[in-house]
Symmetry: C2
Subunit: 148 residues, 2 copies
DNA sequence: TTATTTATTTATAATCGTTATAATTAGTTT
DNA sequence: AAACTAATTATAACGATTATAAATAAATAA
């Protein structure tokens, strides 16, 4: 499953003339296998034992390469560090306001919102961003325990 | 109209024991009357002729005070500076990917998405964030003119 | 009113994520 | 192998924001 994703991603990169370096391979592999939404620094820390000399700039550079190749989506959050999501199926995110955890969920596209927005504003619509915020089950449990 | 908004906002602040300083008054006034989504620096620049000694930290401090009082919403965009929106009616934003313009539009709440997300993830849902991205009419016109 | 307390502002330094730069290294092509 | 080019590294710079501490202004007490 994840091997196939990795193989396809490497093929995509090769096709656009991007060299497959050990660092690139490792970053992609980590993104796919971690199944999470790591920051650049998460990735850097996860790989530093295998690449003791790797620069954090390399992580950022390659995440940009992957993004431009359409392999990775960058999730931005104001002040906080961006998180990166290997692109598989289209999905949305729900985010815990207590611990920051990000969980995927699927929902049929919000075409109607895009159409209405285009209609009332005259914009040519390209995309939308939707996130749901709340408290994850684990944090909710903790809160109940601590509560008076 | 905007005078009433300002008056209500000042009342809200007074009720929570926040002093109404000339700087606070001016920042609030600007937020309400500009009818736009300025950055902290936009506000700072707009008021520097009236308050030549005002610090940019004062703008940030007060925007935080306003946000905590529920008067202002902060719109965050990754690397770029936050934009601030005086809270009136609930609405969404459509953002031009070419010039950065932000335009309001109204849409009935997306309760269904929140419910589904809560159901499939077990989260306690508090809110959501939706933005539509595209090209504004002005930028679209420019692009067509430049095109081959 | 004057003195005292407390909130706010100012000036400035620090922080943090990210990007730019330049030198070095590694991969590719001839 | 030599030459060329892409990628990595080390490090400095950047920009938005926050922290700090001193100065000032507002509110309250005397
Ligand atoms: Mn995801
Ligand atoms: Mn708005
Ligand atoms: Zn949580
Ligand atoms: Zn535009």
């Amino acid at each position: 499953m994840s091997e196939l994703h990795l193989k396809n991603a490497l093929d995509t990169l090769k096709k656009t003339g991007v060299r497959i370096t050990p660092q690139r391979h490792a970053i992609l592999e980590y993104l796919i296998e971690s199944m999470s939404h790591p920051t650049a620094d998460d990735i850097y820390k996860a790989l530093e034992h295998r690449f003791p000399n790797m620069s954090v700039a390399t992580v950022y550079n390659n995440l940009r390469v992957f993004r431009e190749a359409g392999l990775v989506r960058e999730l931005t959050y104001g002040d906080n560090a961006s998180r990166f999501d290997f692109v598989t199926s289209k999905h949305y995110h729900i985010i815990c306001e207590s611990c920051g955890k990000i969980v995927d969920f699927h929902y049929p596209g919000l075409d109607e919102v895009e159409h209405l927005a285009a209609h009332v504003t005259g914009f040519k619509v390209n995309s939308h961003r939707l996130e749901v915020y709340g408290i994850c089950p684990e944090c909710a449990k903790k809160e109940n325990q601590t509560e008076e």
